[in-house]
Amino acid sequence: MEKYKYISQEWAAEAYRRLRQELTAAKMKFVTSSMLTLNTNCPDGKDRAVYYRFENGVVDEVSICEGDFPKAEFTISGDYETFARISRAEIGSRSALMSGKLRLRGNMVKALSLAAVVDRMNGVLATIPTEY
């Protein structure tokens, strides 16, 4: 089975395809928002982010950014290894946030109401055969 390099353009394209295919607008609570997951200390020493944009519950964009990061309604930042462990389902994203391994920027109240949506997204992303 083909494996995608984590946070590569190919991985982003596959994420986009799977998210659109598997998550209906209703499952995404018809959300219009944007989210940036900022991975610091990637294996090549760089910081790299995945930018997600949703329009009325439809995933509109999944892209990889370096250097200048776009503004997003929510930014979750943390070490590459932490995101990789979440992606491998070794730790939960919630416990990573609660223990301070991840940092969230954005309206906490709104973030709470979208927690289930993010869980669903993570569930789909975890199915991507990934090479770290």
Binding site: G100, R105, N107
Partner: protein, 405 residues
Amino acid sequence: MTEQKYDPYFIDFPARIQRIQEEMGRRDIDVYLGSRLRTLSWTLDAFCPWRSYIVIPLQGLPTAFTFVIDASRVGDDSWLDPEHILGYAPMGGQDQISVISDLILQYLESGKGTVGIESGMAPYLPEGNLTHYEYECFHDALPDASLVNAHDIIDQLSLIKEFGEINRSREASRIVDVGHQAVYEAIKDGGYHGMTETEIAGLAAYVMRKEGSEWEWSFTAGNEIASGYRTGLAGGACTPASRKELKAGEPFMVDLHAMFRLCLGDHSHNYLLGPATERQRWHAQNFVDLVRLCLNTYKPGMTPSTIADELMEFCEEANFAEYMVPGFEHGIGMMGDEWRIGMNDGPFPYWTNPDHVYQPNHVLICAMQYACPEENIGFRYENPILITKDGCEPLSKFPLGIEEI
């Protein structure tokens, strides 16, 4: 003019924020970080029972932060939109220090500037000054900013009460009066037999809630009820209701608290549960005479000192000065504004300045405590009064007296 402005309880909160910002500008303060309960009520028009903060930039809307479990409700109650009422939680980047300092940094050029904070002390437990720990954390999170104590901005601006605020206080007092009437109806003709102080507190609370009171706001355990020896505890003026049963021949004190749109009602009324002795009646008459004189004494230009001097002279002449606690007022305003009157400019920091000069549209509690512990008798009077052009208006209208039941 919008429909909202016909609301007799309308308060122009954006104008309040603007007045704070103008004063910040005069003092070169870039951001105001409020944490006191009085500040939150006065700026947000929402009750903040959890540790909360308001960040006021030099221009534009403020943003408030409260514990995330209550942020939506505070947002629903406040005039601010939900985007300006945020939650904090024990989560990476969302703890109160991180989330607030992140926002403050957005208002400071290169992280430099002056942040006004609220520091001090108070006999009032939920005052809400920034704690030492919080101060150190913000100091570390904002290394290039200077933190200066600026609570007097709010203290000054909140001194003179606005039309809507006065009307809210009037309504809170009306509700308290309904509570007093209900207590009277319950205890009259021997109805008090078998009742306890806590029961009286509860029945008054129920009736006042039915009238629209939001809660029995006082941190002294809500409605304060005392009977018998508890009315006359030496120098005392704080009596959370106990399980003590009301008994014939004892004095009985009912101190009720109601809140209407964050403004506070606070009125105490006293009874003698019959049969009363001549000596009890003598005490009661002293107290009623004193209250009447006190209400006639409050007017613009008077100070806590001049009022205390006049009243204590009367007590001395009538031979009951030893039973009086020599203070005749405490502060009142929107929730959290209790105890201290006026500015922090007296001889004892963070206590009422005895030389504070009353002006029209000040609202305070006319408060008196009479206590004769050796005879197990005491009385309390409290009533919010509005200083008018030439006197004062007691906001609670329940008739003054000490009835024998």
